[in-house]
């Protein structure tokens, strides 16, 4: 008895169509991950039965079921892992301290053997983390200069993790 009233191919087509309608670039990158295929070991029986069968690598395309899982892995990388990277970084930076020089920066002559004396501040507090978008050597400057890494709520991340689990269950065709 089938658990779903649709095939894996229909499910994959629907997912990619929906994704393409929202963001073509994203859909293309997911499609590329699928189209990369996978390596399998093929076995060729030896003509001489006393010899071992020959085993060789062959790159094959994913089945529609497997392609769905590859697509969900790609979605999970952005919808679950990326926010977790930012939250995890924020947690570890929060536990570090900011070093504030104990004197005016201009008065300090950098010394190879000695670290600049600092007072520790804000240990245990969130730090603002930024990624430079306009690099030093970039000639054309337009748009944002920097990107601020913002924490996401654990609940939101968990909702997306659960939703991907739901989709994996809805596209499980094993036992049919």
């Amino acid at each position: 008895m089938s658990r779903n009233s649709y095939t894996a191919q229909q499910a994959l087509d629907l997912l990619l169509t929906k994704l393409r309608a929202q963001n073509d670039l994203f859909a293309t990158s997911v499609q590329a991950a699928i189209d990369a295929g996978k390596d399998v070991s093929e076995e060729e029986p030896a003509i001489d039965r006393r010899k071992k069968p020959r085993v060789y690598r062959r790159t094959v395309r994913f089945t529609h079921e497997e392609a769905l899982q590859v697509a969900f892995d790609a979605l999970q990388a952005y919808f679950v892992e990326q926010p977790l990277f930012i939250n995890d970084a924020a947690d570890n930076f929060a536990k570090a301290a900011l070093g504030k020089p104990t004197h005016a920066q201009a008065q300090w002559m950098p010394d190879v053997d000695e670290r600049e004396p600092v007072v520790l501040e804000q240990q245990g507090q969130d730090k603002q983390l930024e990624i430079e978008l306009h690099t030093e050597t970039q000639v054309t400057r337009e748009g944002d200069e920097i990107f601020v890494l913002r924490r996401q709520s654990r609940q939101s991340i968990e909702e997306q993790r659960q939703q991907i689990q739901t989709l994996r269950a809805l596209t499980d065709f094993s036992g049919e």
Partner: protein, 222 residues
């Protein structure tokens, strides 16, 4: 029995969530750098677990905000207040840097996504009287960080092996970190002196994070 409509509804819920396609549009520009920030954070954790408080510093002042380079850059650059972390362990000073270029043994410069280097060498390179790129002998640990939503590209692994080969023999620990994996690269990294494969290094796999952190702790304790 699940219907196509059930599936469509589930897909819509996923894609239209605030952390759905809009999240992709937001982070796509910085996906690789966000991953580097995460790996940098794991280095901070390793230092902390050795009983030392890492101190966040900036090239031109207090790093508030803490700025990650958007492209490979020089350690002494004052274009922005680029951040780094310093710490002292067993009487030796170290710095954790991100996106800094080093002079390889061939003289060619190479960027390391995240690294731990000798503090005295970093300070020497920032000294206004001797601004320079750090030499590869300054390096203690270095990592390549790759965020991938699909299978990793084999060429990335080959390129990093080449980079490490030009970094001399002082480099104690090197690794190739990714949230993704590649079965062939896993084998490629097995020989001695090749970078450690840290595949599936993600908060979703806490045991892989522990392996990464413990490896750093082991090297720094030596």
């Amino acid at each position: 029995m699940a219907t196509l409509q059930d599936l469509e509804n589930a897909i819509d819920t996923l894609l239209n969530h605030p952390l759905g396609v809009s999240q992709y549009q937001l982070v796509q520009r910085v996906e690789e750098k966000a991953y580097e920030a995460y790996v940098f954070g794991l280095c901070l954790r390793a230092v902390r677990e050795l009983g030392v408080t890492p101190i966040l510093r900036g090239n031109t002042g207090v790093p508030a905000p803490f700025v990650f380079r958007g492209a490979p850059g020089q350690i002494h650059s004052r274009g922005r207040n680029y951040g780094y972390a310093e710490f002292t362990l067993n009487g030796q000073d170290f710095e954790i840097q991100a996106g800094v270029e080093f002079k390889g043994t061939s003289g060619m410069t190479h960027e390391l996504d995240v690294c731990i280097m000798r503090g005295s060498d970093a300070r020497a390179c920032r000294n206004p009287q001797s601004l320079d790129d750090p030499v590869s002998a300054s390096l203690i640990c270095g990592w390549e960080c790759k965020f991938y939503a699909g299978n990793l590209d084999k060429g990335l692994g080959r390129a990093f092996v080449g980079l490490i080969a030009d970094m001399g023999t002082n480099l104690r620990l090197s690794g190739f970190c990714s949230n993704s994996t590649h079965p062939q690269l896993l084998k490629y990294f097995q020989p001695d002196r090749r970078p450690h494969p840290h595949f599936r290094l993600t908060p979703l796999e806490s045991s892989n994070e522990d392996i990464f952190v413990n490896q750093i702790k082991g090297e720094l304790k030596k």
